[in-house]
């Protein structure tokens, strides 16, 4: 009775997650690429898979794509153990982009769509939609080698998403795009998420992580060292440091008074009028409101910002701590 209840509960939990990776181990000879890695990727999220080069990201992605098999551990896709047919519900854009250079754009896209299980007529319909959307219908009969790199990237994006997969895996999706097209692709990715797709987003370009990801996991030296909601992680990494700027006639005096009350560090940022500029770190139990009211009593407060670590800093901190 009890066991059944638990497994039902577990299944329900699994249903909310599109992908669950449990204790996955992958070795190549003596080299361990993934060491007991577990991840949970909720449905409808953009999940940032971060890590330095050679950390094991690609190995993990290849296991999800069933290009290679893990040595140990399980992967659950949509509540069930990952099965060969699931490849039809996964779209994958590898970091090293690739298309047949001598093959025509349209034929190539049709071929790749059919390999993902679409019928020829359905594939044609969807390709027309995407080609119109990106305004590239004129390229249908061109060979890939005749296109520019950016153009080929657009085709690559289309063949990744056209079979409407439940799971989309993008490895460094913005590399090779100019800022305008990168923006276009980012918009499309977010729209696909809003339409219900789950997105794994592997990158080491942190500014795009801030912009796009709901969840992140950090892999370093074959181990997962961090996982969770981006906001939660940021909160965990906050240092309670505030950047303050006060316009006052007597900055040195105010600084001296502040030093008696709080831990103070020099700061460098721009404000319109010259005045006192400092980083103030609060200790446990100290309230930012108290700091603010103290500052208002000393002069005109022009700048008061909590220094929240961005993804980049979290990345560097976590990796440094791990090694």
């Amino acid at each position: 009775m009890y066991g059944k209840y638990v497994s039902k509960k577990l299944n329900e939990k699994r249903m909310n997650n599109l992908l669950e990776i449990k204790n996955v181990v992958k070795t190549y000879g003596d080299f361990t690429a993934l060491n007991d890695v577990s991840l949970t990727i909720p449905k409808g999220s953009v999940f940032g898979l971060l890590g330095p080069n050679g950390a094991g990201k690609t190995s993990l992605i290849r296991i999800i794509n069933q290009i290679t098999m893990q040595d140990a551990g399980e992967v659950y896709f949509d509540g069930k153990l990952l099965a060969p047919n699931d490849v039809e519900h996964i779209g994958y854009m590898p970091e090293e982009r690739g298309l047949y250079k001598g093959m025509k754009v349209g034929e190539q896209a049709l071929y790749l769509a059919q390999l993902k299980g679409l019928s020829k007529s359905e594939a044609k319909k969807r390709l027309k939609y995407w080609f119109d959307k990106f305004d590239i219908s004129a390229w249908w009969d061109k060979k890939i080698e005749e296109l520019s790199k950016g153009m080929a990237q657009k085709v690559q994006f289309i063949v990744t998403v056209m079979h409407k997969p439940k799971l989309l895996i993008f490895d460094e999706p913005f590399s090779g795009f100019d800022p305008i097209n990168a923006q276009l692709i980012a918009k499309e990715i977010l729209q696909l998420r809003d339409e219900g797709a789950t997105i794994i987003f592997s990158t080491h370009r942190m500014e795009s992580v801030e912009e796009m990801c709901d969840y992140i996991a950090l892999i370093d030296q074959s181990n997962k060292i961090l996982e969770g909601k981006l906001d939660d992680i940021k909160r965990a990494f906050r240092t309670n440091t505030f950047q303050v700027g006060v316009e006052t006639a007597n900055p040195k005096e105010v600084a001296a008074r502040l030093k008696q009350l709080y831990a103070v560090f020099p700061a460098d940022f721009r404000i319109i009028n010259e005045g006192l500029k400092l980083n103030v770190t609060l200790k446990k139990g100290e309230n930012p409101n108290d700091l603010l009211s103290f500052l208002t009593s000393q002069g005109q407060v022009q700048h008061f910002v909590e220094l929240v670590p961005d993804a980049n800093e979290i990345f560097i901190q976590a990796v440094n701590k791990n090694s």
Binding site: D71, I90, Y92, G98, Y100, K101, L115
Partner: protein, 441 residues
């Protein structure tokens, strides 16, 4: 359509649409015929040139009757002029050469003292012809010396033609042996050519997918094994189509060429067949013997030959091309393939050499038998042996071994392939390949 079919279709179309494929398909038969016609034409021209040879016979033993003129060589007696003068004439270019027969005490001594002078060095056949003329006459002289009647010797000449039977009661002849050799040699040689051309084509196709990096996208949709198999079948189909077109074109062009240029195509083909078979063939080129040829051909086990040809052809091609695919997967570019190509090419070439060297002389000898059973050479050597009739148990062992090896090698190749296609950078060593085979999943 299943995924394997899709892959086969794409590989086939990609190969067939390739410009070099089109050019090769339509140009090479034309080139082959033109080259062949050129050789025949030149040989004819060569034959038309007559060589004038004079002889100075100091011994007085020879007459003009001993030097009968042929189509290409004419003889004249210049004994009267003397050797020195005649040599001068040869030097001036009046004649091709001069044969000097000195006067000696014994025929044996004479036989060793005959000299030939010419401005350019004469060919083997010319010298052979001269020597045999001299030998025949000197032998006849000796026979007369021993008081043996030449007419009796002539009359004692007898020509035996042993009829060959096997225990299933089939009669065979030298002619059909020639045919069997030809059928076997063509089949074996075709297989080798096919493996070399289309095996490397499979390899190139793998390398192309690897360097264009599309392979990672493809294997996220299909199993690497499916991709490899699809490639091999797709390339083989394109190859078979090309061979078929070559066959048809060669046939058509030969007809056209023989009509237009008057070049006898039979002559062209027979010029490649060794001389003794040629003689055997020439013997039968009178009308009532043509029927005999057809009879002989119909006596070859055509159906059995065809089935076995298909089996060994496909078996051999799959065995080798899976290895080519593995090599393509292991490297990043074509220049790195060489170290792995040698061990693949070696048994292939060995098969053809062993086939030509042993099967023709002794189709059931130990070497031919062993090589027709060892899997890597069996497709070629067995194809050469099959027309001579191979016992069913040898065939069974050879085919079973080929199937087992084929499955095993495809399995090994697929292991290397699936790891190799995703490996970039370092050129792998054999040790690396061994490691890849041991990787799980």
């Amino acid at each position: 359509m299943s995924k394997l079919k899709l892959i086969i279709h794409r590989e086939f179309i990609a190969k067939v649409r390739n410009k070099s494929f089109l050019i090769m398909t339509f140009l090479s038969p034309i080139l082959m015929v033109v080259m062949g016609a050129l050789v025949v034409f030149l040989m004819k021209k060569n034959d038309e040139k007559v060589k004038d040879i004079v002889y100075v016979d100091a011994s007085g033993l020879f007459t003009k009757a001993n030097f009968k003129d042929s189509k290409t060589v004419k003889y004249q007696d210049y004994t009267a002029l003397g050797l020195t003068e005649t040599k001068n004439k040869v030097e001036n270019g009046d004649f091709y050469g001069v044969l000097y027969i000195p006067k000696k005490d014994s025929l044996e001594l004479l036989a060793k003292s005959i000299e030939f002078y010419s401005t350019d060095s004469p060919g083997m056949s010319l010298m052979g012809g001269l020597e045999s003329k001299v030998e025949i006459h000197l032998r006849n002289l000796k026979l007369t010396h021993f008081e043996i009647d030449l007419m009796q010797i002539k009359a004692s000449d007898i020509d035996s033609d042993i009829k060959m039977f096997n225990f299933s009661g089939e009669e065979s002849s030298k002619l059909i042996n020639g045919l069997k050799i030809a059928v076997g040699a063509i089949a074996g040689y075709l297989l080798m050519m096919f493996v070399m051309i289309y095996g490397t084509s499979v390899m190139r196709s793998v390398i192309e997918e690897k360097t264009s990096r599309i392979v990672e996208i493809i294997v996220s949709s299909v199993k690497p094994f499916q991709l490899m198999l699809g490639k091999i079948i797709g390339n083989a189909s394109a190859g078979l189509l090309q061979f078929f077109i070559w066959g048809v074109l060669l046939f058509l062009i030969s007809i056209v060429a023989s009509v237009v240029f008057g070049v006898d195509m039979v002559e062209m083909q027979t010029s490649k067949i060794p001389a003794d078979q040629l003689n055997a063939a020439k013997e039968v080129v009178n009308p009532d013997k043509i029927q005999l040829i057809l009879q002989e051909i119909s006596r070859l086990p055509i159906l059995k030959l065809f089935v076995l040809f298909i089996f060994y052809f496909l078996g051999g091609f799959f065995l080798y091309s899976s290895l080519f695919a593995a090599v393509g997967a292991a490297v990043d570019n074509e220049t790195d393939t060489q170290q792995f190509m040698l061990p693949i090419m070696l048994p292939l070439i060995l098969g053809v050499y062993v086939g030509f060297a042993t099967v023709m002389n002794d189709p059931h000898g130990p070497i031919a038998t062993i090589f027709s059973i060892v899997p890597f050479t069996s497709p070629i050597v067995m194809l050469m042996r099959v027309p001579f009739g191979v016992s069913w148990y040898e065939l069974a062992i050879s085919m079973a071994l080929l199937i087992v090896t084929f499955v095993f090698m495809v399995w090994i190749a697929a292991k290397i392939y699936r790891v190799g296609i995703l490996m970039y950078g370092k050129k792998p060593t054999y040790k690396d390949l061994y490691k890849w085979i041991k990787y799980k999943g």
